[in-house]
Symmetry: C2
Subunit: 761 residues, 2 copies
């Protein structure tokens, strides 16, 4: 369920990173002869030649034709959780992994996954209308053959219900929209809301509606988002057809992902399960998604004041708030039985360090055919596994253990990956060195996000992968994009980009990295290509088909191949590295920037609240308002006290110093030391030190104090989440507590770095 660029800060934002300069690659001190072979970050001069050779063979074994054939096969029928084709795909993948020499098996979990028995939306008055809720074949797409096997369009983990009420339009249904409603004097209490997709994760829309007293929620695809306002609609162009519906999860993933009934443990046959009413990630109100064809009559029937201009979509109507006179009847009845999810797990045992694991995953389940999401990424992962298999067949062995995972049940809420991570939590905690994720892939630019100590590692790889369209490296192309984009938008790139170091984003949620990064504290990367594909218009619909993908996704599968070469290279390098390829100054600088942000946020809030107070007491908003269009003044805001940031500032100073010292020690001593095993043992698990055992407020499953999905942003990341969200929500005591907790975590991290640096003395 990628929803590209939602789950992490977008590139231009991330590009604010300032990097320390002049830190040397450990292989920078080449002898003259070795200098002929380009250095690889993490490798000493004696091992780089062999690695280059392996990578050359690996690259040669990637064939776009394979990706195309696998994609066509796997997307030939609906493959959602519980569907026959999902299981068939698992078996297909299992067979391939085995054929390629991997030790592979299917690991099954039994999860709560409601499937719709009855879904209906109808308008009772002023003019009866029954939503079609049906995606039909379009001319020119022959890959939609098994459309009949799809489930009806629905959102998973809303409540069952049969509700009738006046409708209220709530724009994107996000927190700021409810402030606008409040000032307009409009309540959603006892109403059914209709929100358009966009500006925030789907699952937050019904959650916020429920919190504000609504009894049902409709989410529709306004053509302003991914319809005719964006491109001609499919099959003429790539955009969402009028009858197309975006399905998706509305589980409360920011609380925790995975099977709602088995928090913290794997959903094995005999796992202890919560009763459904105790499962806090399930909504209490029914929710359904609509196409714009089905939404238009409802929106057209709304009366009440005209909404502000930011609320206007691209339908040819005047957007009103309501409530009513549109009266809507919404029905959802589901089959709440447990369903199996089938993870395919394939292992290649490490020859030297079998207890250092590199886990590589991509999900396999789609909402319907899932050609782009997720199979375009999945087939690239298969190409990597096949190519590695050929290396092994040629006598090569990984130093560290490789685990390739084809996850099931990602779409409803990262079910397969979360249950697996929970079931194997102890072993992963001891052994996992890296989790490497991907999801959908497409034509365009490298999109990288994850643990910032791996930023330089990603840059190093990007300089060795060729962009299929331009022939330059994907690194050079990305840099061109950032520089041209900044120029055209009237902005600028930071010095680091100008100097050639591309920033990586921070991860929120929305794909299978979440249990690894944020629950278990495993160093994580999510790498994909995109930005020139046009798969977004059919996101989570039946039209995300093979035929659509080969027209608008990655027609030649050249970017699928580039993806395999990028992520495969990451696997091979971490597997074979002399020193695990972290550069900690990048993390320190990034966290330092986050700390500046939260301090700035607190100051800004204080200034704003004081100014607001003055304007409110002067009656300014009342005087400024149009008396014929009553609009209440904004609510007063609590004035933030000054927070105790010193302890955080000190921890960051220490982190910068420790990171710099370690990086320098590696650069100086590098592979020349005989204590690499001990150093790597520290580095392998160092990211566990980013965890707070008690987790985040109200959501203890999320334990990272550096990265988390936002409670009110969903896929969107909150960095330093304990501090940032406490400030945003005016919980000052909690903010001070998490400043201390975060500082403590950073100090622990620094201590580990100091220990590793000492080994290099």
């Amino acid at each position: 369920m990628p929803a590209k660029n939602r789950r992490y800060r977008n590139l231009m934002q991330a590009a604010g990173v300032t990097l320390a300069v002049g830190i040397l690659s450990i292989s920078s001190a080449h002898s003259d002869e070795a200098a002929k072979i380009a250095a690889i970050f993490g490798f000493g001069e004696t091992s780089v030649a062999a690695q280059r050779e392996i990578e050359k063979k690996f690259d040669a074994a990637i064939d776009p034709a394979d990706l195309r054939a696998w994609l066509q096969n796997m997307s030939s029928a609906p493959n959602h959780v519980g569907s026959p084709h999902d299981k068939a795909n698992a078996e297909f993948v299992l067979k391939r992994f085995k054929a390629w020499g991997w030790d592979a098996h299917i690991e099954t979990f039994d999860v709560l996954y409601p499937t719709p028995r009855e879904v209906a939306v109808e308008m009772l008055s002023p003019k009866p209308y029954k939503a079609k809720l049906r995606e039909t074949p379009v001319p020119g797409d022959t890959s939609l053959g098994k459309l009949a096997e799809q489930l009806p369009p629905y959102t998973v983990y809303g409540a069952d219900g049969d509700v009738t009420a006046d409708l209220v339009y709530v724009n994107f249904g996000m927190p700021d929209d409810y402030k606008v409603l409040e000032r307009a004097g409009i309540s959603v209490q006892g109403k059914i809301v209709i929100a358009r997709y966009g500006q925030g994760w789907r699952g937050l829309k019904p959650k916020l509606a429920q919190q504000h007293g609504a009894i049902g929620c409709i989410i529709y695809s306004d053509p302003s988002g991914d319809g005719y306002a964006d491109d001609d609609v499919y099959p003429v162009g790539s955009a969402r057809p009028s009858q197309s519906v975006q399905r998706g999860s509305v589980q409360d993933i920011p609380v925790r992902p995975g099977d709602p009934l088995t928090p913290n443990v794997g959903a094995t046959k005999d796992a202890k399960r919560l009763s459904r009413d105790k499962a806090e990630t399930l909504l209490k109100i029914p929710v359904l998604p609509l196409s714009y064809e089905d939404a238009l009559p409802l929106l057209q029937a709304l009366d009440g004041p005209v909404t502000p201009s930011g609320w206007h979509g691209a339908l040819p109507i005047t957007y009103h708030y309501g409530p009513g006179p549109a009266k809507v009847h919404l029905t959802v009845k589901s089959d709440w039985s447990l369903k199996p999810v089938y993870n395919v797990i394939a292992t290649l045992r490490g020859a030297e360090f079998p207890d250092q694991w590199i886990v590589r995953g991509n999900h396999r389940d789609g909402w319907v055919f899932g050609a782009s999401d997720p199979l375009s990424g999945h087939v690239a992962m298969m190409a990597e596994a096949q190519a590695i298999g050929r290396l092994v067949a040629g006598g090569w062995r990984p130093k560290r253990t490789l685990i390739y995972a084809s996850w099931d049940g990602e779409e409803p809420g990262m079910l397969g990956s979360t249950e697996w991570a929970e079931a194997h939590a102890d072993e992963l905690t001891r052994k996992a060195v890296l989790y490497l994720n991907s999801d959908s892939n497409g034509r365009g630019f490298l999109q990288a996000a994850g643990s910032h100590s791996l930023q330089h590692f990603v840059n190093d790889i990007a300089k060795d992968v060729t962009d299929p369209q331009t022939g330059v490296t994907v690194h050079e192309r990305l840099r061109a994009k950032l520089e041209a984009g900044a120029f055209e938008n009237g902005g600028s790139v930071p010095d680091s980009v100008a100097k050639g170091e591309m920033p990586i984003g921070a991860l929120g949620t929305g794909s299978d990295f979440t249990p690894f990064l944020q629950h278990l504290g495993i160093a994580t990367l999510n790498l994909e290509y995109g930005g020139e594909d046009a798969s977004g218009g059919v996101y989570h619909s039946a039209y995300d088909s093979f035929d659509h993908y080969v027209r608008f996704g990655d027609p030649t599968f050249a970017y699928g191949a580039a993806m395999a070469r990028t992520l495969g290279r990451a696997v091979l390098r971490v597997s074979q590295a002399d020193v695990l390829p972290h550069r900690f100054a990048d993390l320190a600088d990034t966290v330092s920037r986050y700390a500046d942000e939260v301090q700035h946020l607190a100051d800004e809030q204080r200034t704003r609240a004081q100014r607001l107070d003055k304007l409110l007491s002067g009656g300014t908003f009342k005087l400024a308002a149009d008396p014929t269009k009553p609009r209440l003044p904004p609510a007063a805001e609590a004035v933030a006290p000054h927070l105790e940031f010193a302890v955080l500032d000190n921890a960051i100073e220490r982190l910068k110093k420790s990171a710099g010292a370690f990086d320098e020690a590696v650069a100086k001593r590098g592979s020349g030391t005989d204590r690499l095993i001990q150093v790597n043992a520290v580095l392998a698990t160092i990211d566990r030190a980013q965890l707070e055992p008690g987790g985040l407020p109200g959501r203890p499953w999320y334990k990272s104090l550096i990265y988390a999905p936002g409670v009110l942003t969903g896929y969107g990341v909150k960095t330093l989440p304990g501090i940032r969200e406490a400030i945003e929500d005016h919980r000052w005591d909690e903010a001070n507590r998490y400043i201390v907790a975060t500082a403590k975590v950073l100090d622990g991290y620094s201590a580990k770095l100091d220990g590793a640096a000492a080994l290099l003395k």
Copy 2:
């Protein structure tokens, strides 16, 4: 033709003004008794009481019922130039002025005003469509009775023509849009363009199309501008109905307004006239306006690449560039005979200073019924004239001469006012102390723009006029609006606003002030109310009717009354002032800010050109571009040399010093001096010193070096235009020349101020 907020910098922008503080009103040094009567800027303590008394009587004589009755009568039939009702309205107004005791007459000019004989737009292929080009009655508006008398929707001063070509969509048809077209590889050469209204003055759209080689131009009202995206369409709401068309002038007004055949002289019967082919303000290509109902089939038929998102209007289609396959046939045939314009000129001779004139004007001609534009402003002006007439009937006489003008022919290009100003140029140059303009009026906030030495004068008046809806002063309400608006937009107001001094905007063009301010150098103000009215949706259409105005413009005419009280007060105060009410520090600070802006602009351009050069030579744009959607890199830009700004900086330092010294001298000596007659004689004509006799490059009619309409912004102002436009267009030598010329003009202004200050010593 107001197009509110286009002709001057909008309020929030204008709010950047920094004012000197602590400058005293000349009446600030009251004795204890006189202090009971509030001071008036420009009045000494001995004269303020009488003035207050007069203003009280004046206010009492303003009756909203009069405004309503006059508006209903005058908007009861189409009243464009040459129509029977336009002449009837002139006679109606003449009769009223005379009845109120004014010395009034009709002054007629004969102007080139083409009226349509045949207008047609049809699509020949791929699907025949003939535009209706017709506005029909709507249910519920009984004031549209004489709709049959309207001219067909057209734009005035395009060429006659009969052209057929493929259509190209050019977005708003502004300079940046042509850059986008060029980068997309799309030429309009030999094509017909279709542009949507908005983002720049109407007349620039065909002018730029013509410059780029197009052979015809269609301008349509996309519903994103003033249609259903804004409000429910009339008669349900205020917005433009689907068949409604915006008429208007496409004369090249930034070159000069007025009769195209008689530049610089009044278009009297026997004036020397240019032949039509020599009239440089006439376009060479035919132009027609369309409703969105008529534009939709044409836009829908366009093919070619999908346009960028900023080009998408609110029609339910994907917006393509073309060219074609839509092939369009456009016909315009006009009656090019001269037509009469009837200015009604009413005078009250000044008792003490008959040769100091205060000219007050509002135009009378509309495009159809013209209820809002211009009659809503015109009836307020009539109320002033009636109330002043009553004062005179009661024995009062103005000290200075008052001239009230009901202008005809403003809509096609300020014909009536320009010809009158040209015909009386010598006398106006000697005698005019102030030109005070208004145009449409509506419910809302005071909107003030003009000569910045009058900013404090406007503030002083605004503190004495009550806002009809809130009961506070219009000054306090405007301040609330600026402060609340800044808070809600995340911005801030400058200290001056926080301290209670509201900025006034700078004037471009778009109403009758232009010949006075920018051609003759007369101190000018344009004052109106608006911002809460919703008359904009029917701008320049048949639906700008009495019924529409009383629902959406100013239902109770309370703001018409407020307008009369504001502008009448300005007339009375300038008429009776002891010292003409300028505060020159405001002008000096404003011009100083403009000078900072142009210097910043030059620096920014240089930096940008250098950066662009680097990116172009590195091939960055080519690498960043999507190879499947060819987009050329931006064109290289010349790197600006450093300009010779020192002479301007010195002139501004001098102006600040001279202004401060004069203001202080007035505050100290004020009405206590016996040389007020000499001082006022200087102040009366001081704004003539803002003129450069040679005018602006390529448009010598425009002589002000402080304010001008932009060559490429139309109504939108360019301040320090000689310098600013030269920099914008990379004409560096010209920029240096106008820096010198502007400095010289400012020095001349300062010298006059020094002379006036010396009189006060």
